[in-house]
C-alpha cells in the first residue's frame, strides 16, 4: 500500500508547475533566412504562429517577419497572393488555421516558397489540450525547419536542468526541472535541500539519471520523467557520480571511488552489475559515450592537469584527446559524433570549447568567465551551457556557428547544468 501511495504522490508531484525560464536573444543573426509566419486563423489559447516564429528565430537560421509589418494575414493557401510577400522580401511563408475547441482542436498549416510561388508542404494535426497545442506548435516549427534546411528540427525536444534558490538561512533548495526547449512548460521532477547534480537523459527521453545527496552522501538515481517512479541504482562507498546513459539505454557510465579514487565504471541498469573501465590513481570522471557506443571520453588529471581522454567501452589503454590549454573537462559528443563540446580554461576564464574530432580544430564558442556544462541539441544546431551573469547562474544557448546566442534566466535564483534531451521517437 505504501508503494502505491508513493506512486500516486509522485504522479501529482510531477504536475507541479515550476517558475519559468525567460528567454532573451543576446546576439542576433546575420544572413538568416526571411520567413513570414502569419498569425493563425481561428481562436486558440496559445499563439501558435508566435511559438513557431520564436523557435525559428532562436535557431539563428531564420529571421521571422514582425507581425506588425505584415500587409495581409491569410489563413490558407487559396488566400495567398505571393506579390504581397515578395514586396516584403520574404523567402518563405507559413499560414494556418485552428478550429474546434478544448478537447478537440484541429490545426492546418501550409508552407510556401514565396519566390517560386510553390507549396512546400501542408500538414494537419489534432490537439486536445493547451499543452498539446504548444507541443504541436514546436512540431510545426520542426517540420518547417526540416523542409527549409534539410535538417531535423529540435524545437520539439526538451531540456533538463538544475535550479537553486538560496533561502535567508543560506541553505539552497535545489530542483531537477524539465522544460520545453524554449523554456516553456517547466516542471519540477525532484527537489531537495541537499546537493543534486549531473543529469543525464536516457536515449528514449523517458528517464533521467542524476546524483543526489539526499541520504547525506552522493548516490545515483534514475527517475521516470512521466510517471515520477524513482530508484537508487548506485550507492557505493565514496563518490557515485557523473552518470551517462549508453546509446542503447541499457547501461550507465559512472564515476565510482569505492576502490579508493575516482575511476570510470559501467553499470548495467537492470542487473546493477558494475565493471571497471579505467584503473588509475589519478582522477577519472565525467564519462560520455560516443554515439556508436564503442568508446567513452572522460576527464582525467593523469597528465597533471584535467584533460579529455578516450577509452574503449570495454576498457583498455586510454588515449589523450585534448592537447590545447591547461584545463579541459566534461566533454560530450554531438549526436553525429563529429564534435566534442567541453569546458576549457582560457587564461583565467572558463569557456565552452568545441573540438572537431576529425580535423582536431578547436574553437571557443563562449566568453566566460565561469561557463560550464555544455550539451548539444540532438540535431547539433545549438549548444546549451551554464554561465554566471551578474552573480547569477543563467543558461545560454548558442548556435553551433556562434551567430546567435540567447540567455535563459529564472525570475529568482540560479539555473545550471542544462542537458538537451534526445529526439522524441517518430
Amino acid at each position: 500500500m505504501k508503494r502505491i501511495i508513493l506512486l500516486l504522490v509522485l504522479w501529482g508531484w510531477h504536475l507541479m508547475a515550476a517558475a519559468g525560464l525567460t528567454i532573451e536573444i543576446t546576439e542576433g543573426a546575420q544572413g538568416a533566412l526571411p520567413i513570414a509566419v502569419v498569425p493563425f486563423g481561428g481562436s486558440s489559447p496559445e499563439d501558435i504562429a508566435g511559438i513557431v516564429a520564436n523557435d525559428l528565430k532562436r535557431s539563428g537560421r531564420f529571421r521571422p517577419l514582425p507581425v506588425a509589418d505584415m500587409l495581409v494575414k491569410p489563413h490558407q493557401g487559396a488566400e495567398v497572393d505571393f506579390r504581397d510577400w515578395r514586396a516584403l522580401k520574404q523567402e518563405s511563408l507559413a499560414v494556418g488555421q485552428v478550429s474546434g475547441g478544448p478537447g478537440n482542436y484541429q490545426l492546418r498549416v501550409e508552407l510556401f516558397d514565396v519566390f517560386r510561388g510553390q507549396g512546400l508542404g501542408a500538414w494537419q494535426f489534432t490537439a486536445a489540450s493547451q499543452r498539446d497545442l504548444r507541443a504541436t506548435a514546436h512540431h510545426i516549427a520542426d517540420l518547417i525547419y526540416e523542409a527549409l534546411t534539410g535538417e531535423r528540427g529540435a524545437f520539439g525536444t526538451r531540456i533538463a536542468y538544475i535550479t537553486g534558490l538560496r533561502s535567508a538561512d543560506g541553505k539552497e533548495r535545489v530542483a531537477v526541472q524539465v522544460a520545453d526547449a524554449d523554456g516553456g512548460h517547466p516542471q519540477t521532477i525532484f527537489s531537495s535541500t541537499e546537493p543534486v547534480l549531473s543529469i543525464s537523459w536516457s536515449p528514449d527521453g523517458r528517464r533521467l539519471a542524476y546524483v543526489s545527496f539526499e541520504n547525506r552522501k552522493p548516490a545515483i538515481f534514475v527517475q521516470d520523467v512521466y510517471s515520477g517512479a524513482r530508484e537508487k541504482v548506485a550507492d557505493f562507498p565514496g563518490i557515485n557520480g557523473a552518470p551517462a546513459w549508453s546509446p542503447d539505454g541499457r547501461e550507465l557510465a559512472v564515476t565510482l571511488s569505492k576502490d579508493g579514487n575516482p575511476d570510470i565504471f559501467v553499470l548495467d541498469v537492470a542487473t546493477r552489475n558494475v565493471r571497471a573501465v579505467t584503473r588509475h590513481p589519478a582522477i577519472d570522471t565525467e564519462p560520455s559515450w560516443s554515439p556508436d557506443g564503442r568508446s567513452i571520453v572522460f576527464t582525467s588529471d593523469r597528465g597533471g592537469q584535467p584533460q579529455i581522454y578516450k577509452v574503449s567501452a570495454a576498457g583498455g589503454e586510454p588515449q589523450r584527446v585534448t592537447f590545447e590549454g591547461k584545463y579541459n573537462a566534461k566533454a560530450s559528443y554531438s549526436r553525429d559524433g563529429k564534435y566534442l563540446a567541453m569546458v576549457t580554461r582560457d587564461g583565467g576564464d572558463f569557456r565552452i570549447g568545441v573540438l572537431d574530432t576529425a580535423s582536431k580544430a578547436f574553437r571557443t564558442v563562449s566568453d566566460g568567465p565561469l561557463d560550464e556544462s555544455p550539451s548539444f541539441a540532438p540535431n547539433g544546431s545549438m549548444i546549451i551551457y551554464a554561465a554566471r551573469s551578474q552573480g547569477r547562474g543563467v543558461l545560454y544557448a548558442v548556435s553551433a556557428d556562434g551567430r546567435t546566442r540567447q540567455r535563459l534566466t529564472l525570475d529568482a535564483g540560479d539555473v545550471r547544468e542544462p542537458v538537451w534531451s534526445p529526439f522524441p521517437n517518430r
Binding site: L197, G238, G241, T299, K330, F350
Partner: protein, 171 residues
C-alpha cells in the same frame, strides 16, 4: 489525451490529499535529519550537529578550535599553515579512540562540477592520510566530498574561492 489529462488531475487531487504522508517527505529529501555540517565559513563552525566530547574540543583557545584547512587552486596538498592544525587534531584523536571525525572536502566553483567533486574527495583524503600518519585509526575518520555544491562564501571572486577550497573537520 483527454483521458490521460483527467487521470493526471485525479492523481494530483489524491496526491494533494495525501500531501502530508511520510512517503512524500522521504522522497522529497527535504525532511532528512538536518545535520548541517558544512562549516559555513572558517573558525569552528563545523560544530553544529556534531558530537562533542567536551574538554579540549570545547576550548576556543585550543588549536582544536580550528576546523577548516584551505588549499591552493586544483591542489590537494596540505599547506604548511594547515599542518599544525591537522597535527593537533591527530594528537587529540589518537588519544581519544572513541572519538570519530568526518572530513568534508570542498572545491571552488571554477571548472566542471564532477571534477570538483573528485577534487574535494582528494582533499579530504589528504587530511585523512595526515591524521593516520599522526597515529589516528582509519576507522575514526570518514570522508565525504561536496565538491563545489556547498560554498562557504557564495561570492564569485578570488577571495570567495580561497574560502571555498577547503576541508572541514566535523566532530
Amino acid at each position: 489525451m483527454l483521458n490521460r489529462t483527467f487521470a493526471l488531475a485525479a492523481f494530483a487531487a489524491l496526491a494533494l490529499a495525501l500531501g502530508g504522508c511520510s512517503s512524500m517527505q522521504k522522497t522529497d529529501g527535504t525532511e532528512a535529519p538536518v545535520t548541517d555540517a558544512t562549516g559555513a565559513g572558517a573558525g569552528g563552525a563545523g560544530a553544529r550537529g556534531g558530537r562533542w566530547s567536551g574538554g579540549a574540543l570545547d576550548d576556543p583557545s585550543s588549536p582544536l578550535a580550528n576546523r577548516v584547512l584551505y588549499f591552493e587552486y586544483d591542489s590537494a596538498e596540505l599547506r604548511p599553515d594547515s599542518r599544525d592544525t591537522v597535527r593537533a587534531h591527530g594528537g587529540y584523536l589518537a588519544g581519544n579512540r572513541g572519538t570519530n571525525v568526518t572530513v568534508e572536502g570542498h572545491a571552488d566553483e571554477r571548472g566542471s562540477r564532477e571534477y570538483n567533486l573528485a577534487l574535494g574527495e582528494r582533499r579530504a583524503q589528504a587530511v585523512k592520510r595526515y591524521l593516520e600518519a599522526e597515529g589516528v585509526s582509519g576507522g575514526q575518520v570518514s570522508i565525504i566530498s561536496y565538491g563545489e555544491e556547498r560554498p562557504a562564501d557564495p561570492g564569485h571572486d578570488e577571495s570567495a574561492w580561497a574560502q571555498n577550497r577547503r576541508a572541514v573537520l566535523v566532530y
